[in-house]
């Protein structure tokens, strides 16, 4: 190994070497990136940081950096240390540049490149860490990311001409790029590792991009689109064509994305990597070294590296060739294993985000993972984040070598944590500190028997299939009973859990069954070069970890504290979620409360009202005929209603043709006070008045006829209803005004809110079915009332408040309401 920076002294001082250096960091909003930036600012005198941050949808890169990096509790110790000068220090030592590692030249403009130009060290820690990201996304970020960083460096330095000194690029990879093969893995480049198959990385990039294009094409095939529309309809019913289209498009995107996830996993496995993450990271290393790291072609170069960066999109790609000294960048590759919470810095237990192990631990503590595969003697390679940060700093201080050096930061050789031991520790800890269920009872955790992966997978798959069948059955249930909704919710919960458990097993099983050991010889060599004082300050020797203490006293308490789980016995104190939602809905700050009528405030429909009115003046014998006719027509009406509410109303209201207006008007009051009021939900009526008393505007939108809802007018500030045409005192049967249904309701609400100076974001809407979906989506506070199974499912997924209102107990409940016989002669009746 040639020491190109010429550092050979025995006393490597990180603080001295890195003093006043300028660091360019990608992935600063991530777990490792945040810790690194904090450590640089706290522990390296006068060091400066330039963070590359992707601008958010609403926030600029700088705002994002402040919010997601500086305000993280990682900075608490530094904040305490600096006191009032904290903000000032951050402002002077932390610079943000807007950019994106999935864009050419990191998306940096000229000024951005100039800023990069001012840096001494570049740490690339941005990655898509999800083990099951869609293949093309993982390729763009993980595979091409490191090369793009190197390319940006090249561009920033081209102005100086060849020979000027490039900064040291430290690329963070993962120990698992070496696969999970049994045995020891050395700190060597992948091209030198005989177990890594020769792969043409450029070919893989092309393949991933082509696959995306092909799937996009396939997802647009008529047959596939029809299927997706059918699925959207099954979920949403008659919500309206726009919403249906939106949902179908979403399903199409999901399908493409899911297909890419599967493609990634399969491709990774086919090449011997456990998942897409390890696979794309591995190729990322290969691509980086092949293009920017070699002074001479290596044996595997013909297979591993073609010297073009991503399909010729790079401006300087054409004139860079392997081994071109001008193209060479000092590179070091750092491969941590599974990074977990901090051992000591910034404080013991610091962690950001819910990572790989945490969801599994919490699911286990909640008693949801009855079994998990793994080999008891297997070693699970975990490394605390602060050890990784310290190692990076030491590597930065030590400088780069040529060819690029590889460092493992892993525990499996120095201080192996056996899977069986870890399970014991976790089991013991949760036995002593159980979580509590909703009823305040402690949850006892299961003892895993650590069976093979196949068995667990099979069990979970079977359970998932069974529950999916159950869910389909319940979704077909037409009722709105709370009990059915609860069953469906429970089943959905359980299915979600089983599916999650299954995905844990599928994704992480490889890591719990791995028997690979990641050697850390080079890391320890670096360790030996440090003074004991520096070693204490920047610890990265895995031997420093006491697993028992780490798991029981540092990691688990931290994970539990962040997991929003119940850790004390007794009933939950404070108010329930539903109560909190209700309070928000009934806050004086709301503007408008919109109500649907049928099934939201009233358990009845236009057919009931018609039947009551039409039979009002019918003697007994004709009533029977009338009921027969009405029932015979029922299936047709139902089908029409399901297809399009507006068409149904238009068609059904024809039946009022020729009915005398005065009689219907008079009868409608009777209908209301004798029938409809017994079908109304008292809690709903109370809710409308409550809104009014709070000063909210109240609005009723219904497809019912104005004459029928006339008695309800005083309840609301405004009523929008259907209106039949009249001619010479008789109804024409033609609708003069059809209230908006489906999506038109949302548009109408927008107009209404604008006209009255109200904000829909501050408004509440009450609806009962997916035909109210557009209206519910239009407001800030949607409430599903007695939802049908489709809306219930949607409301659950979106966290909408659900109310179950019922008729007053004791009221009559007739299948078909007929008006009490009124013998008064009328000139013409409502047509039967």
């Amino acid at each position: 190994m040639v020491d190109i920076v010429g550092v050979a002294e025995r006393r490597l001082s990180i603080r001295e070497r890195l003093r006043a250096k300028r660091f360019f960091v990608t992935g600063g909003t991530g777990f490792l990136g945040t810790a690194l930036i904090e450590r640089l600012l706290r522990s390296i005198p006068d060091a400066e940081v330039v963070a590359l941050v992707r601008p958010g949808r609403r926030a600029s890169a700088h705002e994002r950096a402040l919010r997601e990096i500086v305000r993280n509790d990682c900075f608490d110790p530094l904040r305490r240390l600096l006191g009032d000068s904290f903000e000032e220090t951050i402002a002077s030592r932390l610079t943000t540049v807007a950019g994106d590692v999935s864009e050419d030249a990191l998306g940096l403009n000229e000024a951005g490149l100039q800023t990069l130009r001012s840096c001494d060290v570049v740490v690339h820690s941005a990655a898509t860490v999800s083990f099951d990201a869609p293949l093309d996304q993982a390729v763009e970020v993980n595979l091409l990311g490191p090369s793009r960083v190197a390319d940006a460096i090249q561009r920033a330095w081209t102005t100086d001409g060849p020979g000027s000194r490039r900064p040291h690029l430290i690329a963070v990879s993962t120990a698992y790029v070496a696969g999970t093969h049994q045995g020891e893995a050395n700190e060597q480049l992948l091209t030198e590792n005989p177990l890594v198959p020769p792969v043409d990385w450029q070919g893989e990039v092309d393949f991933a991009r082509k696959l995306r294009a092909e799937l996009e094409l396939e997802s647009r095939q008529p047959q596939r689109l029809r299927e997706l529309i059918e699925r959207a309809r099954a979920e949403q019913g008659a919500a309206g064509s726009h919403l249906l289209a939106t949902r179908a498009e979403r399903l199409r995107e999901d399908w493409v994305s899911q297909s890419l996830v599967e493609a990634g996993l399969t491709r990774a496995k086919a090449l011997g990597w456990p998942d897409t993450y390890a696979y794309t990271k591995a190729l990322g290393e290969i691509a980086l070294v092949a293009q920017f790291g070699h002074s001479a072609p290596s044996a595997g170069a013909s297979a591993h590296g073609r010297n073009r960066l991503h399909g010729g999109r790079s401006a300087n790609a054409a004139n860079t060739t392997e081994g071109d000294a001008g193209n060479q960048i000092p590179i070091t590759i750092v491969r941590p294993s599974i990074i977990e919470s901090a051992l000591a810095e910034p404080f013991p237990g610091w962690i950001r985000g819910f990572r790989m192990a945490e969801p599994i631990i919490i699911s286990y503590a909640r008693g949801l993972l009855r079994e998990f595969p793994g080999v008891p003697e297997g070693v699970i390679d975990v490394i605390p984040v602060d050890l990784v940060v310290s190692a990076i700093l030491a590597i930065a201080a030590a400088g780069a070598t040529s060819p690029p050096a590889v460092y493992h930061v892993a525990s499996s050789v120095r201080r192996p944590l056996r899977y069986g031991q870890m399970h014991e520790l976790v089991y013991d800890w949760f036995s002593r500190h159980p979580l509590y269920d909703d009823r305040g009872q402690p949850i006892s955790v299961p003892k895993w028997s650590l069976p093979g992966r196949g068995r667990v997978q099979q069990q979970l798959q079977r359970a998932t299939q069974l529950m999916r069948a159950g869910e389909r059955l319940l979704a077909a249930f037409p009722g709105r009973a709370k009990r059915v909704a609860n069953w469906a919710a429970t089943l959905e919960d359980r299915q979600g859990l089983a599916q999650r458990a299954l995905s844990y097993v599928e994704l992480y099983g490889a890591y719990t069954e791995t028997e690979a050991r990641y050697r850390v010889d080079r890391l320890l060599e670096l360790w030996q070069r440090m003074s004991s004082e520096e070693q204490e300050r920047f610890c990265f020797d895995p031997a420093a970890i006491d697993w028992e203490r780490y798991v029981s006293e540092i990691h688990l308490p931290s994970v539990v504290a962040r997991a929003r789980v119940k850790t004390t016995p007794g009933r939950p104190a404070g108010i329930s979620r539903a109560e909190r939602a209700r309070r928000a809905i009934l806050s004086p700050d709301r503007h408008l409360a919109v109500f649907d009528l049928e099934h939201t405030l009233l358990s009845s429909n236009v057919v009931d009202s018609y039947s009551w009115l039409a039979s009002r003046h019918l003697p007994f014998d004709r009533r029977i005929r009338f009921v027969g006719q009405l029932l015979a027509g029922a299936p047709r009406w139902l089908a029409l209603d399901r297809r399009d509410r507006g068409d149904f109303l238009r068609s059904f209201y024809r039946r009022y043709e020729g009915a005398p207006v005065a009689t219907v008007e008079a009868d409608a009051w009777e209908l209301f006070h004798r029938f409809l009021i017994t079908r109304m939900f008292p809690e709903g009526l109370a809710r409308v008045r409550r809104h009014r008393s709070l000063g909210h505007r109240t609005l009723l939108i219904t497809g019912a006829l104005d004459v029928i809802v006339a008695p309800l007018v005083p309840l609301f500030d405004d009523v929008v209803s259907a209106r039949l045409g009249r001619h010479n005192g008789y109804f024409t049967g033609q609708l003069e005004e059809l209230p908006p249904t489906g999506e038109a309701r949302a548009a109408m609400l927008q107009r209404y809110a604008r006209d009255h100076g109200l904000s829909l974001a501050e408004s509440v809407a009450y609806g009962d079915s997916t035909s109210d979906l557009a209206m519910l989506e239009a407001v800030g506070y949607p409430v599903a009332v007695n939802p049908d199974s489709r809306l219930a499912a949607l409301a659950r997924r979106r966290g909408w408040h659900v109310e179950y209102w019922s008729k007053a107990p004791g009221g009559a409940d007739r299948p078909l309401p007929l008006g009490p016989f009124d013998p008064r002669p009328v000139r013409s009746e409502v047509r039967q």
């Binding site: 017994t678 109304m680 008292p682 109370a686 008045r689 008695p711 005083p714 007053a808 004791g810 009221g811």
Partner: protein, 529 residues
């Protein structure tokens, strides 16, 4: 055979199980030996010729009043007011006494050439009557002659145009009544004095009043000081009504009061056993009881309710008196006492009673839990003169299913009262202070009261105030066979058997308590010495 008077019987070893009302059904309960049972007098013989009696009363008024025919003249404004659907209980067989009396009044008016006649149902804050109910009370002839022309009206306590404020009593009580009545040359009030609380000045001062006026006597304070409200001289409720009635008279409104009383022949032949004393039940009575009770237990509550509400009582007119309000009322009350009075010696530790399916506020409707409380603690508890049947700190055991069921058309504010008020407090004074106003002025309740058939928004509060005296007096209220959650919400204790209830009672009144059972039907008034 002359009807036998009421009696107080002591249960001994030979006493059969005794009948308890249980809402839309019955139970036979074996009471502990030594229990006193108060039986009502048997129904008195009615007037042989009620029409002649009415005509006689109209022409021979009592008190300072001219005969009706002398008060009628052409061109005058005549208003005839009548009691609403809350009387009598159960509704009586056709013809209703109101029909009989009003037909005679109208005949005299026609003879005298009076053509400005309006009929007003004196609802106070009760629900408006339905067309069939009006037809039943007045008969088709009157209904068809008046209703189509808008001359048959129902008092509207929320119609600002239809009310007139007559002034304040010396105690500052607002007197605000129906404008048509106030501006008439003569008001004829046709009253049914079913119990001693009814009639007198209360007919107009309450029946034709507004909320603004009613709140002066329908409040917890007044009700706690009406001991009992069935005994006018000892009733603050009546004192207030009397002050108002006198102010009405002083403001020049001429009232010709007609009060009728009925005998207690309450149930038709198929329910004959209800009218007889258990040890005198014939084989037929036993058989019909067994069959009826078994059938009622098995049928849905709604069906049982329909059967009971279809009952039309064979009650008949016992007396009719007309003339000046106070003089008429005195005679009517005497007649009621003659029919219903039973002398009882001393109070008891525990009072038991079965509650029927009906009270004044659920005719053709549903008896909700608040009405159950009102019937037991308001009406039945107060059926006394002198001292309450049960001692202070004693226990009242009611039998009623007390289902949390409501008629949404008739009792909308009761539903909200049950959900919003009773869940917070059962103290009448507290609810009067905190909640009454918002219910009384809720525009939705006002709308339903005025356009539909709903009791006024404040009505459930009045029902609860009706219980105020009993709530203060009693040590505990136990509801036997009641829905536990409804019973507990009202602050009472549920019990499933009489033995349990009596056992629970001893926690309050000590061991070996004295027990008295108020046997109903028929109605009785206890004169407790």
């Amino acid at each position: 055979m002359t009807p036998r008077p009421g009696l107080v019987m002591e249960v001994d070893g030979s006493t059969p199980p005794l009948l308890f009302w249980n809402g839309e059904g019955f139970r036979l309960e074996r009471l502990p030996e030594g229990t006193r049972v108060v039986y009502a007098p048997e129904p008195l013989a009615p007037l042989a010729d009620p029409i002649a009696a009415i005509r006689h009363a109209l022409e021979h008024p009592v008190g300072d009043m001219e005969p009706l025919s002398a008060l009628l003249r052409p061109g005058m404004r005549l208003t005839i007011c009548f009691d609403d659907v809350s009387l009598p209980l159960p509704p009586m067989r056709s013809p209703d006494v109101r029909q009989l009396v009003i037909e005679q009044v109208l005949e005299l008016a026609a003879e005298a050439g009076v053509d400005d006649v309006v009929l007003i149902a004196a609802l106070a804050l009760h629900r408006r009557m339905t067309e069939p109910e009006l037809r039943h009370a007045l008969g088709d002839r009157i209904y068809d002659a008046f209703a189509p022309h808008g001359l048959l009206t129902q008092h509207d306590a929320e119609d600002p145009e239809g009310l007139v404020h007559l002034g304040r009593t010396e105690q500052g009580e607002d007197v605000e009544i129906n404008r048509r009545a106030a501006e008439s040359d003569l008001v004829v009030y046709v009253n049914i004095t079913l119990v001693t609380m009814d009639g007198g000045h209360k007919s107009i001062a309450t029946g034709l009043a507004s909320y603004r006026s009613l709140r002066h006597h329908h409040n917890p304070h007044t009700m706690r000081h009406s001991r009992s409200f069935m005994d006018a001289p000892a009733s603050e409720l009546h004192s207030s009504n009397w002050r108002m009635g006198r102010l009405i008279a002083e403001s020049g409104i001429r009232v010709f009061q007609i009060e009728t009383t009925l005998n207690t022949d309450t149930f038709p032949a198929q329910f004959g056993f209800l009218q007889r004393r258990e040890w005198e039940w014939t084989l037929r009575d036993r058989a019909t009881y067994a069959a009826t009770a078994a059938a009622l237990d098995r049928m849905p509550a709604r069906l049982a309710r329909q059967i009971f509400h279809a009952i039309r009582a064979p009650q008949a007119m016992l007396s009719v008196q007309a003339g000046e309000v106070e003089a008429v009322h005195e005679r009517a009350i005497a007649s009621v006492w003659r029919q219903q009075g039973v002398a009882v010696e001393g109070q008891t530790d525990v009072l038991t009673m079965g509650l029927p399916y009906i009270c004044p506020y659920n005719v053709n409707s549903i008896m909700n839990p608040i009405l159950v409380a009102c019937l037991g603690l308001g009406y039945f508890f107060n059926l006394y003169r002198g001292k309450p049947l049960v001692r202070e700190g004693g226990v009242l055991i009611l039998r009623h299913p007390t289902r949390p069921e409501f008629h949404p058309g008739h009792h909308p504010s009761y539903i909200d009262f049950y959900e919003q008020v009773l869940t917070q407090t059962t103290d009448p004074i507290e609810m009067h202070k905190v909640y009454e106003e918002s219910f009384a002025t809720d525009p939705w309740y006002v709308h339903l009261y005025r356009t539909g058939h709903a009791y006024h928004g404040v009505h459930p509060f009045y029902m609860w105030y009706w219980c105020a005296h009993a709530l203060e007096h009693l040590g505990r209220v136990i509801v036997l066979g009641g829905n536990p959650s409804a019973v507990r919400r009202m602050g009472f204790s549920p019990a499933s058997t009489l033995q349990d209830a009596l056992e629970m009672a001893t926690d309050v009144v000590g061991p070996s308590p004295t027990i008295t059972h108020l046997h109903a039907p028929p109605l009785l008034m206890a004169d407790v010495s």
